[in-house]
Symmetry: C2
Subunit: 340 residues, 2 copies
C-alpha cells in the first residue's frame, strides 16, 4: 500500500441551498486527513451513493437525521477499503460501507452505520440493491404497502434506484405494475428492460387519463417517491383499501415554500385508504435477511440493478441534481477512486 | 292506533346544491304513502339523525354510497315505530332504526340497514351514541387510530356528535385529550362538561401556537372530522409514528372546488406517520359488541351523550347546515313526531 496523502479532498457545505444545489452552496477543498480515534478505522472512499434525501439534510431544521451544519462535510453513504485500523473488527483491505460523506477518506467504527462486507464484493451494488436502496424498496412495497398478487402497483421515479427495484419486485409478486417517470427513454426502459406492464411520462402525458387507461382496476398500492401533482393524480385513482407508501418527495426537496398538499387525499375516506410514511433505517434489523432475498433474485436474473456513474468528487453537484432533473436511470454513484 | 294518513310529508332533492343547502335545492311535499312490499314493514318516523355525510350524498358522482338522485327523498337514518308489517321479524309497535330518509313514513325489511331495538328504548341515543355515531367514534379512535394510554389525542369538531364521544373515550383510556371547535362556548363545554384537557377555537386561536402549547409531546392520534387547514396544522405537529384518522371533511363538503390538500402531509415521511380513512359501515359486525361497551360507560356516568334537537321536517335545512356553521353541540336530531 502506498503512503497516505496528507490532505483529504472533500465537499463542504458553505451556505444553505435554495432550490437546486450549486457550487455557490458547497465547496471542494483539501481538508486535513481524518484522525482515527480509539476503536476506529480509516477508510479510503472508492464509491459514494447519491440519494435524494441528501438534499433534505442540507436544509435547516429538524428531519429524521440532524441537518448538515455549515462547514461540515456533506453527509452521504459510501464504500471503500480500510487503509489503517485501530478497530479490532476491521483490518486493512477490508471493504467497508459506511457514512463516508462526500470525501476521499473517512473514519468509522463497528456500529450500526458501518459494516464490513465479503472480500471481493463488487462495491456498486452494495450501495444500491444490497444497500439502503434495496431495503427501502422491499420494506416499502411489502411491509408498508402490503402488496399482494393480482393487485395494481404504481411507482413514481420508476427509472430511479428505488423505483426500478420496487417495480421488479412487484412483477415477481404477480402484480400489474405501472411506472411513472420523467422521460420517454425511462418509460421505455422500465417497460422493455425491466418488464413493467406500462409507463407514464408525467411531463408529457395526461396523468389522470393514463392512470385510468393503465390501471383499469384502480391503484391498490402507490409507492410515492415524488409527492406533488403526481401523488395527487394517483390519489384520484386510488382503489378501495388502497395504500400509498410515502417514501420521498423529490418534487418538494428543492422548494423554498411547501408545495400544496394532495387535494385528493379526501378519497382516502370514502375508499378506506391509507397513506403511510417510513424510513428504511427503522427496519435495519431486517437488512441481512432482506439482502439475502434480493441477492437470490439478482443471481437468478429475476431482478436487475442499474447504476448510473458520475466521475470524481467534482461531479457531486451534478450527481445530486440528476435526481431532481431526472437525468439518471438507476442508482447514482460517484466513483471517487479505483481500488488501490 | 289511529288510521294511517293518506299522504307522507317528505323532503325531496330538486337540484344539486352548491355550497350550503337551501330550500332552493330541496322541497317539502306531501308524497304518497310508501307501499309495503313483501316482507316489509311500514314505520312512522319519530326522530331522524343528521350527519355531515348526508351533504356529501347530495353531490353528483361516486362516493361510498350512491348519490341521492334528483326527485328522491333525501337519505338519512331515523327511528320510529312499526305501524303495519308484512315482515315476520317486525310487529306493530316495535321500535325500528333504519334508513328512513327525511320523511314521515318509511318501509324497511329485516336487513343490514334496519334493526329492531328493545321495547321502551329512548330513541335519541339510538341515533347517536348507540348508533353509527358511537360506532364511528369507537372504531376510529381504537381500531384505526390505535390510541394508547399516555398518548396525546386531538379531535376536531370536538363539540359535535362524534368528536364529543371520541374525546371522552380517549380520556377514559388515559390519554391527554385536546379538542378543536369553532366557538368558545363549545371549547368551554368540552373542557368543563366533558373533561377534555384543553380546547382550541380554530376560528380565533393561532392553531399552530395552541397545538404546540397544549400538545407538548406532539400529537399521537388526530381524529379528523374537518379536513382543510385544521388537518394541515395538526399534521405540522404530528408525533413520531403518529396516526391521523380520516373520519370526515366538514370543511370540504360544501365546496364546489376541492380545497388544497394538507401540505404538511410530508411530515408523515420523516415521522413515520400514517393517515387512514374509514367508514363505520365496514365495521357493522362489531356493532353489538361495541354498543354494549358504550352502554356500560353511559350507565356508569363515564361517558355523556349530548343531543341537539330540531323540530319538524321544516327544520331539515337548518339542521343539516348547523353541522357546517357550527351551530350544534352534540348530535343533531330532528323530532318528526311524538310516539303515537
Amino acid at each position: 500500500m502506498s503512503a497516505l496523502p496528507t490532505t483529504n479532498r472533500r465537499i463542504v457545505l458553505r451556505e444553505r441551498p435554495v432550490g437546486l444545489l450549486s457550487w455557490d452552496h458547497v465547496e471542494i477543498e483539501d481538508g486535513p486527513m481524518p484522525e482515527m480515534g480509539e476503536n476506529e478505522a480509516l477508510v479510503r472512499t472508492e464509491m459514494i451513493g447519491i440519494d435524494a434525501t441528501m438534499r433534505s439534510w442540507l436544509n435547516a431544521g429538524e428531519g429524521y437525521l440532524p441537518a448538515v451544519e455549515i462547514g461540515e462535510v456533506v453527509r452521504a453513504s459510501g464504500a471503500g477499503r480500510v487503509v489503517a485500523s485501530n478497530c479490532p473488527a476491521y483490518e486493512p483491505g477490508d471493504i467497508i460501507i459506511g457514512l463516508s460523506g462526500l470525501q476521499e477518506y473517512f473514519t468509522c467504527t463497528d456500529d450500526l452505520f458501518s459494516s464490513k462486507v465479503a472480500a471481493g464484493s463488487d462495491i456498486a451494488p452494495l450501495l444500491s440493491i444490497y444497500g439502503s436502496t434495496g431495503l427501502t424498496a422491499y420494506v416499502g412495497l411489502i411491509d408498508i404497502g402490503q402488496a399482494k398478487e393480482g393487485e395494481t402497483v404504481v411507482v413514481s421515479a420508476a427509472g430511479g434506484a428505488t423505483g426500478s427495484i420496487v417495480g421488479q419486485i412487484a412483477k415477481l409478486m404477480g402484480c400489474r405494475v405501472v411506472g411513472i417517470a420523467g422521460t420517454d427513454e425511462k418509460c421505455r426502459f422500465v417497460v422493455d428492460e425491466l418488464g413493467f406492464d406500462a409507463a407514464i411520462n408525467h411531463r408529457t402525458d395526461d396523468l389522470a387519463a393514463k392512470l385510468k387507461e393503465h390501471c383499469p382496476k384502480r391503484v391498490d398500492v402507490y409507492f410515492d417517491n415524488v409527492g406533488g401533482r403526481v401523488l395527487d393524480a394517483v390519489l384520484g385513482r386510488i382503489a378501495q383499501n388502497g395504500r400509498v407508501v410515502l417514501c420521498g418527495s423529490i418534487s418538494a426537496y428543492n422548494e423554498t415554500h411547501k408545495p400544496p398538499g394532495p387535494a385528493n387525499y379526501i378519497n382516502l375516506i370514502s375508499r378506506r385508504g391509507r397513506m403511510e410514511g417510513f424510513i428504511a433505517l427503522d427496519h435495519w434489523d431486517r437488512f441481512p435477511e432482506i439482502t439475502e432475498v434480493l441477492r437470490g433474485w439478482v443471481e437468478s436474473g429475476e431482478v436487475r440493478h442499474v447504476e448510473h456513474f458520475f466521475e470524481g468528487l467534482e461531479s457531486s453537484v451534478d450527481a445530486l441534481n440528476a435526481l431532481f432533473t431526472g437525468a439518471n436511470t438507476g442508482k447514482v454513484i460517484i466513483r471517487v477512486a479505483d481500488p488501490s
